[in-house]
């Protein structure tokens, strides 16, 4: 039920074919059929469901809609979702930048291992990710007793949800930055150092401005996933109403209880978030491409 499911960390190349030669174009009817098939498919599987979310949400009227999203449990779910994103996104921003910096700017043993590890959350099912934390921090887990003795709750509590969210969103920022930083190389950093800049100054004045659009793009994707994550969070949450339910979990519970209008009302909020994300992503993506093109242009001119 995650309304925002963005599993692809890299910007999809959506470049218009430049001056397609006549020899390689297809007859008009072939083109129309292909475009038609694509459109029908898109509307059936993407557009209709999206519209239906809003349709169902408002089916029983505005009051039911407002009641559903202002109800205490719903508000608490929204808060929890925001908290989880507000903690995990900045942390992954820091992790992602450090990981990308280390991988792109230094040579060390085991670099490929680190690269593979960064991809782990993409290759592992979110449910497994949740289970890992249950096994480590759960009552029967490695630290379960110790946590119990100190009256600390991780699983079935907010910390567990944040941990699971961090895990599944870890690759977004790093994966976005690594190719960009690798393409840019180290010359500008070296130039800054020779000119007397400290490491800190070099990072803020040279490295960061050079990757800012890529970074923002990674953060947008990371945030979308953090808010939409269902599987991993579901395992560690315990579904305690008003306490450990995030928006996706709250939607599922409402749906299972046959409160369709309420369920779709909350879902429409997540869907709106997805739409906003898409618009932001589109704008930022264009800037990333421009930045990449500039790097390539500088390389080509050289």
């Amino acid at each position: 039920m995650s309304a925002v499911s963005v599993a692809n960390p890299l910007p999809v190349q959506s470049v218009a074919p430049p001056d397609v030669a006549r020899a390689t174009t297809e007859p008009v009817w072939v083109r129309r059929v292909l475009i038609g098939v694509a459109l029908v498919f898109l509307s059936l599987f993407l557009f209709v469901p999206l519209v239906s979310v809003f349709f169902e949400a408002f089916k029983k009227g505005w009051e039911v809609y407002v009641a559903a999203i202002t109800e205490a449990d719903a508000v608490s779910a929204m808060w929890l979702t925001l908290i989880a994103a507000a903690i995990s996104v900045p942390l992954n921003l820091v992790f992602g930048v450090s990981a990308a910096w280390a991988i792109a700017k230094f040579d060390f043993r085991g670099k490929s291992v680190v690269l593979t590890l960064i991809d782990l959350p993409f290759s592992v099912s979110p449910v497994i990710a949740g289970l890992i934390y249950v096994l480590v921090f759960g009552l029967q887990g490695w630290f379960g007793e110790w946590l119990m003795d100190h009256d600390l709750k991780v699983i079935f509590a907010v910390p567990g949800i944040v941990l699971a969210t961090i895990f599944v969103t870890f690759p977004f920022v790093a994966r976005e930055l690594i190719p960009l930083m690798q393409a840019q190389g180290q010359e500008q950093e070296e130039a800054a150092r020779v000119l007397g800049a400290s490491g800190w100054q070099t990072f803020w004045k040279v490295t960061l401005p050079n990757v800012k659009w890529g970074l923002l793009y990674g953060v947008i994707l990371c945030n979308a996933r953090a808010m939409g994550e269902f599987g991993a969070v579901s395992v560690v949450s315990g579904h305690i109403r008003g306490e450990t339910n995030t928006m996706p979990l709250h939607i599922e519970i409402l749906y299972n209880e046959y409160q369709f209008a309420a369920s779709f009302a909350v879902a429409s909020l997540l869907a709106s978030l997805a739409l906003v994300t898409l618009v932001l992503k589109y704008i930022v993506e264009r800037r990333v491409h421009q930045q990449m093109a500039q790097v390539q242009q500088a390389g080509a001119a050289a």
């Binding site: 500008q188 130039a191 150092r193 020779v194 500039q294």
Partner: protein, 352 residues
């Protein structure tokens, strides 16, 4: 500031890039590190700058050990082959960077920064593009800005890594003359890396010829060209014909049996073409003629079948000989060296 390098060694994995280098660069000199790619010249430059750490050996600035001084404290100007301008800053900000990152105590006031940057931009004749961004500039302009940026911190040493390598031929020629004039005005100790022997000869006071991590010869441009210390230097600074010692029976290289093991080298433009055999001449057949610019290159096949000889004549010399009927493709002529250099045959004498 003088630069001294002592017993410097550096390797990357199995590759030795600096093999026990010793070099002394007096204050105020403009020195070229010349060599083919992989000869270690860029590594040496980067070690002097502090961008690379040597495995062993020392680097001294003005007699003081700076081997372990951090890059940012060495006060060197470094110009990168691909300019390395900061793409997100204006040209003005690029040049001002070195001043702006100084600690508060030594940072000049804004008005002074502005004055200084404007001065530098005037020096590189680009004060009219201060508000543009690097990607709006041509390669030659970018490189001049890179130089202005390096000079902004008033470096004691200026290091340039293949500064003209990425530019087209015409711009390159202009820029290197301009660099020479700039150096004559500023007298800042400068080292630049190049693989272009012509560039090194034209710009540098002294040339350091490098090969496989070793210094082959250090000397003034005329010195290394006229008195090459090793066959490598001779071969690297222009084309050369190779004669093995045994060949001297032909008389081409003169000398006696004691030189049986030596190799003789003759530059293509130091060979005379004669219609009649003379003392020490070799018979050869003309097989190819190619005129490039002011010179004509002739390829001859030796009468004894021991390879080819290249000869270079000026266009006029060639025309005169051709009109006299001496140089006809497919016909013979006699070649006599005006100048021959001998070296003992190295253990692995490579083909020229």
């Amino acid at each position: 500031m003088s630069i001294e390098v002592k017993n410097l060694a550096k390797r990357f994995g199995q590759t030795v890039v600096c093999d026990n280098l010793n070099l002394n660069i007096p204050s105020g000199e403009l020195v070229a590190l010349l060599g083919p790619s992989g000869s270690g010249k860029t590594s040496l430059l980067r070690i002097i700058a502090g961008l690379e750490t040597p495995d062993s050996g020392t680097v001294l600035f003005n007699g003081e050990d700076t081997t372990h001084v951090a890059v940012r404290e060495r006060n060197v100007g470094f110009v990168f082959q691909h300019y390395a301008l900061f793409g997100h800053m204006t040209i003005f900000e690029n040049v001002a960077f070195g001043l702006r990152v100084r600690p508060k105590a030594t940072r000049p006031p804004e008005a002074e920064i502005k004055k200084k940057v404007t001065e530098l931009l005037k020096l590189v004749q680009l004060d009219w593009i201060a508000d543009r961004y690097p990607h709006q500039l041509s390669g030659g302009q970018r490189q001049r800005i890179a130089l202005a940026r390096a000079l902004a911190v008033e470096p004691q040493v200026l290091l340039l890594d293949e500064p003209f390598g990425a530019l087209d031929a015409k711009v390159r020629k202009e820029l290197r003359r301009w660099l020479r004039r700039l150096h004559d005005e500023m007298h800042i100790t400068s080292v630049f890396v190049t693989h272009d022997q012509e560039e090194a000869m034209e710009v540098a006071d002294r040339i350091v010829v490098m090969n496989q991590g070793r210094i082959e010869q250090v000397g003034a441009p005329d010195e290394v060209y006229d008195h090459p210390a090793t066959p490598f230097v001779l071969k690297f600074l222009g084309d050369v014909n190779l004669f093995h010692g045994r060949d001297h029976a032909q008389g081409a290289v003169g000398g006696d049996a004691a030189q049986a093991q030596s190799v003789s080298y003759v530059r293509p433009h130091e060979i005379q073409v004669l219609a009649q055999p003379a003392e020490g001449s070799v018979a050869a057949k003309l097989i190819d003629v190619l005129t490039v610019g002011p010179n004509t290159r002739l390829a001859f096949e030796r009468g004894d079948g021991k390879g080819e000889i290249e000869v270079e004549l000026t266009r006029d010399e060639y025309a005169a000989l051709r009109d006299a009927g001496v140089l006809v493709v497919g016909q013979g002529a006699h070649l006599k060296a005006r100048r021959v250099r001998h070296f003992e045959a190295p253990a692995s004498a490579g083909a020229a």
